[in-house]
Symmetry: D2
Subunit: 147 residues, 4 copies
């Protein structure tokens, strides 16, 4: 199975559907079953002390797997997040963007699963790990509607 | 074991340590091992369609368990989130604040665990479930430093 | 919505479908959205040191939520586990059965979610926490088939 | 940092500490931060229908990450599992052993984290994904004692 959207089409689509946040996220690389995204870190993503906040990392992981599913299923897909788990491994480096590398582990008829490793740019050891499950709308229906 | 801070002391402390976000969160009730908090939903918490975003719910659950640990351990506590899991159960109601009810399941020497149910105010069925683990700094040390 | 099977019908059904393990599990109480089950602890459930093993606790939580879903959906239901998370909170007491208390948090068209607290019998503090998600087969189909 | 035990030393040690189950698990490969293990599937690992049970997969993932931590920390290490998450992706193939591939994501002073992909031998698509956190005993103490 191949991509329904390439990197440029996917970027353009995210700009349309996430007008508030699309500037935070940049697609760096897209293959059939992996995607790499950058979180352009701004003040609003930081906690006191200057490190990237937990909710910002959650948001990055969520957008990353969601984008991977979209790239395969196409823009009519209305996937909704149903489960997630995250492990926070190290303190993010100050002043560095976050790079997220996602693998698509399953793309079924009704469920999709991906996992993500997140890094402070320029550092080798991962800052956080996440896995997320999405419910996919049945063919022809309007939305996944939380299963 | 009893509370190291009561509701008013805890509210005041959160105002100091989270100057950017403290207005989003209101402590509604605090007991020895439960806390109930409100997320005052603003536009920045919403996704297209008007529902509360995943990162906002993650943030609410995180602040909720963190505050519960603080209330017991006192303000010198520098707990850091190490693991989390969340299940998204239903679409949040539009135009409603989110209410989070946390139970403290464990408060050990080096780890604390709490779980949280989140509701759209005025609705009976939970919108999301979360559990979070915190690493606690050893007595006398400066910080938990991600274990 | 009410129960499709009562406690006796559910017990009998589990005996049929899990001939190898049904003696390990006893349903103690069943309501519309909660179930309490006992793991009758035998040598094969123990790790060196005499405490209940992680896989045994996972199995207990899994059977518990699965049974709750069955009780509501009826015996034609072919739910399969898709996601789980567990926190191990305390060392189980030696020589004690494990009691699991499950709440059904969601019973949707395609997904069901429950959470579980597990206790060593006679002790107040929970030994472990779990949450599990099940994929439900579409009406009329043979099985959920892992989404 | 390098291995405290090589593959043969680790195998021998597991035989000593897990007399009941060591025959189920075979270490296939060990590097500084990865381990590959085989679950030799027997009748007792199966559910009705002939597929490997959830508790058996949980046990495989747990032994896998635990062994990786042991290989690095040495045999005095008394790590205990504190958190886990699993996603069940596909039905395991009948009559095939399970192969688990673990990456060590963090080996800190008090916490270790690894993730695992599990496959039915001879098949490319993963059957399950897991991540596990271990609490490590402080230097010189007897045990991690669940944090």
């Amino acid at each position: 199975m191949s991509l329904a959207m390439n990197k440029e089409e996917l970027s353009q689509y995210l700009t349309q559907v996430f007008p508030q946040v699309h500037k935070d996220f940049v697609i760096m690389e897209l293959t059939n079953d992996t995607i790499t995204m950058r979180l352009v870190v701004e003040d609003r993503h930081l906690r006191p002390g200057g490190t990237v906040s937990g909710p910002s990392m959650f948001g990055l992981a969520d957008v990353c797997v969601y984008s991977m599913v979209l790239a395969r299923k196409g823009r009519q897909s209305l996937a909704v997040t149903t489960s997630s788990s995250m492990d926070f491994l190290r303190k993010p480096a100050g002043g560095a963007d976050m790079i997220a590398k996602c693998r698509l582990l399953k793309l079924g008829r009704t469920l999709a699963v991906g996992d993500v490793l997140m890094y402070s740019e320029g550092h080798d050891a991962p800052v956080a790990r996440a896995s997320l499950t999405y419910s996919l709308p049945p063919e022809g229906s309007a939305a996944a509607a939380f299963g």
